[in-house]
Amino acid sequence: MARQFTEAAIAGIGHTEFSKASGRSELQLAAECAKAACDDAGVSPHDIDGMITFTIDNSDEVNLARCLGVKDLAYTTRIPGGGAAAAATLYQAMAMVNAGLCNNVLIWRAMNERSQYRFGQNPQQQQMQYQSGNGTGSLLWCVPYGAMTPASWGALQAAAYMHQYGVTNRDLGYISVQQRAYAANNPHAWFYGKPITLEDHQNSKWIQEPWLRLLDCCQESDGGVAILVTSLARARDLKQKPVRLVGAAQSIPYNVEVISNYYHADLTVMPEARGVAKRLWAQTGLSPADMQAAMIYDAFSPHVLLQLEAFGFCKPGEAKDFVKSGGMSLDGALPTNTNGGLSGEAYIHGMNSMIEGVRQIRGTSHNQVKRRKVEHVLLSSGMAGAVLAAD
């Protein structure tokens, strides 16, 4: 086909149930969520011509393409950096469509991260080797010192920020309480119907003292999430209201690591999120005030604060007050993680929050923003981000 700049849009989203024991293979979860995203769009899986997942997804492109009967795959790629780069999947899909290289790009992430292996436990011997493409040397330099889990690396990263601005663990509780309130109203959420109080948060056990309690941490989940990206013109002819992919970006500044991120100049900020923000706002001509909702990667609650500040929703050190005063609620300035986030809904490596952004634009969220018409939603996974827009 003749190549020309082509606007990109999300035409379909799909997911499996979110559980602690899926009882089936990761490849099956991948196939099921991919089929669901195609059905949602009204596109045959046979017509997928681009495929994107994470470097650490265990399912092979060819095996998944075989499940879906993909007839002629034109482009496959994977994003490095685990969940921090989750939104980079959209970045690449947008670029592939923009460049006129693909018509139907499938993004997927499927894992049995609770029943088959657990990110939150001490690593198994075979996981203790440095793997390129994960963007982190954390195991290498942390394991002999007893920092063996993402929570330990995340706490070390958050410590300087929390100390600098006097952010207490109780302050973080407001994030967890808000997200669990959203989850309590979302039938897909693992914690559907199970809200928590600030006291529940404060009574949950220390995972990393004095920074993170259990209720500051994302879940460990089984499940799969998929997104189908196509051209805006084509999306307009499909089943759902198109969700325009108006901007997407990635940023890995010098000396930044994915989560073992202790080597860059100022440890009280998240330079990668600042870099993403700078690119996104420049690319779209939009600003924080133009966003009616945000889905922000919340592997650990302090990183929500760091990203709110990096994107300019709050000044440095002020995100804790923003959250405390209800800034993330449906009545607040920026309804955030309205699916319940990765702590309330599920942890499918950030992907489940990204499809909640799509629902907010479509107007189909279980916690729909109603005070304002949702024109723009920010997705941030820390090292990558995207802006979704109504057509």
């Binding site: 290498l140 330990s152 990393q208 080597y263």
Partner: protein, 139 residues
């Protein structure tokens, strides 16, 4: 380690070619850093090329072993493999201007604070290796 007769349970370092000098030095209780042989820039983690002048000439030089605590955490759950009590894991900024993750030992949890001055020491691991750790020092 207050009970030298018990076998160390700490996991040994994962050694890569570019960092072998660091861990070999630690085995001899030498605290070595990597400095560019051309421009003098210190790097951590060690790497094959100087990010400032692109030189491949690496010098492995003794570090002062003095630093300060930038951030710390106490892993409670799960208890890290190889530890009987929660260690203090910390990001240490060394006098040479580089940072590394290590443990602060012989310290009460409530003593931990940013800027705490520390001095290198060595702790044994499984398989007869040693890793640099830090103890509080008077400023």
């Amino acid at each position: 380690m207050s009970e030298p007769e018990t076998k160390p349970t700490r996991i040994p370092p994962i050694v890569t070619l570019d960092a072998k000098f660091f861990w070999d030095g630690a085995d001899r209780e030498e605290f070595l850093g990597e400095r560019c042989g051309d421009c003098g820039h210190y790097t951590f983690p060690p790497r094959p090329m100087c990010p400032q002048c692109f030189s491949l000439k690496r010098e492995h030089v003794p570090l002062s072993g003095r630093g300060t605590v930038v951030g710390w955490t106490i892993p409670r759950h799960p208890m890290p493999f190889g530890f009987k009590e929660s260690p203090v894991v910390a990001v240490i900024e060394l006098e040479e201007g580089i940072r590394m993750v290590s443990n602060v030992v012989e310290v009460a949890y409530e003593q931990m604070k940013p800027g705490l001055p520390v001095q290198v020491a060595f702790a044994p691991t499984m398989n007869n290796h040693k890793v640099p750790v830090f103890k509080p020092r008077s400023a």
